[in-house]
Structures are given as C-alpha cells and as structure tokens.
C-alpha cells in the first residue's frame, strides 16, 4: 500500500523533530533557552553511530547517543548557569562546536554502511489491520517519542517537581525565594534537553538514514526549536506540530515524483526549501498575536540568574 508506506516515512521523518523538540520544551519551561539543539543532535548522531559500529549493537548506540547529547549539553549548562554567559550566544557556540567536532570525530565513518535499528512488533496490537503495521511495528525511537509526550505532560502538569520547574521558568527570583534550587533544576532540565536531542540524533544515524554524513541533521535542530514556539510550550502540540513538519518534508519528496509524472519539472532545490519556508510561515502565524505569545512564553526564558546570598 502506497498510503501506508507514505505514513511510515512521515513517522520516521517526524520522530527526531518530536523528540528533540520535547527535550527543548522542558529546558525552556525551566527558563533556559538553549539554541544548541542542532549541535547536541549532531553529537548524538555521531556518538550513536560510532558506538554502534564499535560494539555492533545499535541499542548500545542509542544509549551512547543519549549520553553524548546530555554530556555535550553540560558545556552549555556550565557556561550559562554557573558562569551566567549569554544564553543566545552560548547556544550558537554549542551548535558551531558540535558541527565542527562531529565532523572531525565522524571523518573515519564516512561511507561506512550503518547498522539499522530493527523494528519491534508489539504482539497482538501489530496484527490489527492497517493501524498495526504503522503504529505497533515501529522502532524504539518512535515508542520513546510517544512515551516522552505522555511522560512530560504528566511530569509538568501533574507532579510537584514539574510545578517547581514551571515556577522556575516563570519567575526564577520567586522560586529561589521559596527555597527551590534554581540552578540545580536548570542543570537537570538542560541535560534532559541534551539527552533528547542526542536521542533524536541517534534516530537520524541509526534509523532514518543508517549512515554517517557530515551535517546530517540539516537544520532539524533549528526546526525543533521553532516547533517549541509553534506548540506554545505544550507537549501534545509538539507531537502534532512535529508530524505536520515531518509531513511537509516528505511531501517535498513526493511532489517531485508527482511533478515528473505530469511533466512539470519543479527544481529539487525549490522543493528542498519547503520545510524551511514552512517553518518561517508557521512562526509568523503563531507569534502574530502578541498577547497569547506573552502568556504562553515562560516569563524568565533566556534571562540570566545569579542567586543572591
């Protein structure tokens, strides 16, 4: 079934966006703006690929990807939380360093065929016609992405720790005055964001295109950042937005084939522009209303915090 195949490719293309974006959502809910998603993602991708090659196990690779992203995000945490460096600039630095370091680390892996993560069929559920093969015969990254949406939603809005995290994001001064450890919570939130970006990267180099290509994240980290704004910092909307963006990316591939059949040659470059143009358009539509943007954005987002003693 062509329709089924298209849906499957959309899911695979959307999963990394959803995962990376969910991680950044938690980071931003704690009031930290980490623009280094692209860098953490590509470090996750190269880490996952390298370890999968060395151990022969893609699952250990996935774990390595998560760890790479989290450890790499600590650099950002140290600079912005301990040394109160500018978050925008530090995030950019993380991306620049990540793209450079991954290029160097991955140089010996270029052209080597990767190890693809196998799909896991869930018994019984995967036998349901149509839905089964699409939703229940997926790889671990997809299942994790769904679990993350549910888990983060529960954590943020149903637990005390989640309430504290949101309090920090909305007013770090008040949270600090109430005795909440702002810096420690933010470190954890930054590392969680890094871990998610790393997992998203692992998905790229072990599932989406099982190989290592320099700059293979191709702006997905930035799209994930835009998705957080699009979702107005709500996990469920990230899921929806992630699939919309994934679908745009896939539509671009199919549009070319369809165009050819009708004898219209749309240059490939213009189709490749689609996801980026779509991101801009969506951002404009979402942020147009100043008031709702102001209400939704964590109030301390991107602001430096130095505890007074």
């Amino acid at each position: 079934m062509i329709f089924e195949a298209i849906l499957l490719t959309i899911i695979t293309a959307s999963t990394p966006l959803v995962i990376a974006s969910l991680g950044e959502l938690v980071t931003e809910r704690a009031g930290v703006l980490n623009l280094g998603v692209e860098g953490m993602m590509i470090m996750g991708a190269v880490g996952a690929f390298a370890v999968a090659q060395m151990t022969g196990s893609p699952y250990i690779g996935v774990i390595a990807g998560i760890v790479s992203g989290a450890v790499f995000s600590l650099l950002f945490g140290f600079l912005t939380l301990t040394l109160v460096a500018n978050q925008v600039a530090t995030g950019l630095a993380l991306t620049i360093l990540g793209l450079g370091a991954s290029g160097m680390l991955g140089e010996s892996f270029v052209g080597i065929p990767g190890i693809k993560l196998p799909a896991i069929a869930i018994p019984l559920l995967s036998d349901i016609p149509f839905i089964g093969p699409i939703l229940f015969k997926q790889d671990i990254a997809f299942y994790l992405s769904i679990a993350l949406v549910l888990g983060i939603n529960w954590f943020l809005f149903r637990t005390r720790a989640g309430l504290k995290l949101r309090a920090i994001g909305d007013s770090h001064g008040s949270a600090h005055a109430l005795g909440i450890n702002v810096i420690r919570t933010r470190y954890l939130a930054v590392m969680f964001g890094g871990a998610c970006a790393g997992l998203a990267g692992a998905q790229l180099s072990l599932i989406y295109t099982p190989q290592w290509v320099e700059n293979m994240s191709a702006g997905r980290g930035w799209i994930a950042l835009a998705l957080v704004v699009f979702a107005s910092w709500r996990p469920w909307r990230v899921l929806i937005g992630g699939y919309l963006f994934g679908a745009v990316g896939i539509a671009q591939l199919h549009a070319q084939i369809i165009g050819q059949e009708f004898g219209i040659a749309i240059p490939a470059q213009f189709l490749s522009m689609l996801p980026y143009v779509a991101t801009v358009v969506v951002l404009v539509l979402i942020s147009q209303n100043r008031r709702t943007t102001l209400i939704n954005t964590p109030a301390s987002l991107g602001k430096p915090f130095v505890p007074d003693r």
Partner: protein, 361 residues
C-alpha cells in the same frame, strides 16, 4: 567544590581587555591537547596551525582575503547584537548579496564600463539588506523571533544559489560544470598590491570598521543602539523607537554581509558556483563576540579567525590532520570568549569546602 559569582560594583575595564586574550590562550592550550589526543606533537602542530601561515607573503595575502568578509560581516553583527537584535542569518545575506551583485556580470555580461563594479557592489549590499529585511519585517510587525527566521532563510538562500549555479546561470560553454560564466575584468575586484591576490575587499572591511566605530562612538544612532540594546524600556523613555532599531540594525548588518558576498565573488572566486563561502556568515558571529562587539575589535578578531581557516589548511598539508579542526578551534574560541566575559561583570571564586559558605552581600 563550587563556583560562586560576586557582582563587581562596575564592569572591569582591565578584564574587558584581557578576556579575549585569555580566551585565545585557552583555545591554543586546549587545541594543543586536542592535537595530542590525535597523536601529533602539540607544539609543532600548533606551530603549523598558527605561525606557519604568517611566514609567507602569499599566505599573508590569503589571510587578508579570508579576513575581509569576516570583518565586514562581523562589524555589522556587532551593531545588531549590541542593539539586541540577533541576526544569525548573515550567511544567507552574504549569499543573496553575491547573487544580486552577480546579476550584472552574468545577465548583462556585455555591459562593461567603469561603473559596472561600483554598481555590483551597491547591488550586493542592497541584496543583503533586502534579505535581512525579511526577518526585520517579521520581527517588527509580526512579533516573530528573528533568530529562527534569519537562520531558516540561510538554507533557502543557499538552495537558491545552488539552483542558479546548476540551472539558469550555468555557463553553456562550461563543459557542464555547475558554475556561471567568468566575470569580465570590468566586473572583477582587483588586487590591492602587486605582491599577491589580496583584493580591495580588505580595504572595504577596514573602512567599514572605522566608520561604524565612529557611528557607534560619536553619533546619536550609536547611542540609540547602546541604550535600546541594554534596556528597551530606558530607550522608550528617551523616545527611541525599538521598532525602527530592528529595521536599522538588521538592514545595516545585512548590507555589510551582502557587500562581503559580492566582494568575495567578484574578488576571489570570479564566477557563481553552488558553494561560495566556507561558513563566513557563521564564523563572523564569533568575530563579533571575540571583538567584544566593538567594530575596531572586529578587525583584530577577524584576522584571528581568518588564521584558523588558513591554519586548518596548513595543518592538513603539513601534519595530516583533518581541516575540520578549524571548526573545532572556532567553536572552542567562542566558548572561551563567552566564559571569560564573565570576569568582566563578576568576581569568580572557587569554594573548595562543601556546604554553604557565608558570602558577602
């Protein structure tokens, strides 16, 4: 062990000067460690990375060629960042500037007069400014975050250039290479000196840095940039429009990036091809910060970062490490600059004992 910060009563002038130098020293030190990890002798590797490119006349010319776009873009970004407008799409504005400027020598190849080159440069700056005008418009009137939009537009510009070079602008007599016709002499930016390739873009960069420094230091516009950047509220009380500042800073930085783009094409490359920049627009972000967002500082930092490009090439040839080390060096440098900048506003103390220390208020 813990690190504590204590705010200084006023920003430290000494550290403002020392911080970039300290960052540079740390980068060199960690770079040496990196070379060691790669199994190379760190001293000779650092020598061939940082010193060797400075010893030949031709490589000094190359240094000027690479520094020119970095300084031009970095100067513009310094102004934008000072005003708190985060234009990170200079790479895209560079590309569009190159495209706009190249319309004359490619589409109107026959029009060769002394006016051709100046017109190209103006068109280039105009193209860059127009392209930066998109995120400016979106931020000023639709409240859209300029960081994300300006970056997304980089990809769009690069794809458009790719299409031009492989499509409509491809030289029909070019053996199917993805490049345009070679620019005529009238459309080429000539060398500055007899001794080598360095062309006039370097002079443009120095002039732009100087003029921008004068603007920031002595004019009302520069004052507005500083006030609105530090506190939008304070700026509003003074009657400055932050909306107009968005337009000004984005168009200004875009125009300089566009000028850098057309200068690169007309001076160093001589035709349009799918890739015209080794990431100058992104590296210039580091230039702006290493130069402490000061236009004159951007001259020094632009030269330093140009050296990392040359050093990468040299190290690849002489000690056989990948030229990817360039990007790593650049990333490290930005990290250290940002961490060292903490010293300007804060006293940093290491608290060795565990538990709560009695800090001074």
């Amino acid at each position: 062990m813990r690190i504590e910060l204590e705010r200084r009563p006023r920003a430290s002038k000494l550290h403002a000067l020392l911080s970039p130098l300290l960052a540079l020293a740390l980068t060199v030190f960690f770079g040496g460690l990196m070379f060691m990890a790669l199994g190379k002798d760190p001293l000779s590797a650092l020598y061939s990375f940082f010193i060797e490119p400075l010893l030949d006349t031709w490589s000094l010319h190359e240094l000027a060629i690479k520094a020119a776009p970095l300084i031009l873009i970095g100067v513009g970004l310094s102004v934008a960042y000072r005003s708190n407008n985060w234009n990170i799409g200079a790479e895209g504005q560079f590309t569009v500037g190159a495209i706009f400027g190249s319309i004359l020598p490619i589409v109107f190849a026959g029009w060769q007069t002394p006016l051709t080159l100046p017109m190209m440069l103006i068109l280039g700056a105009l193209g860059g400014a127009l392209y930066a005008g998109i995120p400016a418009l979106l931020k000023a009137h639709f409240n859209t975050n300029e960081i994300l939009t300006s970056l997304m537009l980089v990809y769009v510009a690069q794809l458009f250039l790719d299409w031009l070079a492989r499509g409509v602008w491809k030289d029909p007599k070019g053996f199917n290479f993805p490049q345009s016709v070679t620019f005529s002499d009238a459309a080429t930016l000539g060398p500055m000196f007899e001794s080598g390739r360095a062309h006039w873009a370097f002079a443009f960069a120095l002039i732009a840095a100087l003029l921008t420094w004068i603007m920031m230091r002595f004019t009302m516009k520069g004052f507005q940039v500083a006030v609105l950047g530090q506190s939008e509220r304070a700026g509003r009380f003074a009657g400055f429009s932050s909306r107009r500042m968005i337009w000004f800073s984005m168009l200004f930085s875009g125009a300089l990036a566009g000028l850098a783009g057309i200068s690169e094409v007309a001076g160093s490359i001589g035709h349009i091809q799918p890739i015209i920049s080794p990431g100058y627009g992104f590296t210039a972000i580091i230039v702006a910060f290493l130069g402490r967002l000061n236009p004159l500082g951007a001259i020094a930092s632009g030269l330093v970062l140009a050296l990392t490009y040359l050093g990468g090439e040299a190290a690849q040839l002489s000690i056989g490490v990948s030229d990817k080390v360039t990007r790593v060096f650049q990333g490290l440098l930005l990290f250290f600059v940002l961490s060292c900048d903490t010293l300007i506003l804060y006293k940093v103390r290491l608290v060795l004992a565990g538990g709560k220390s009695e800090g001074k208020a």
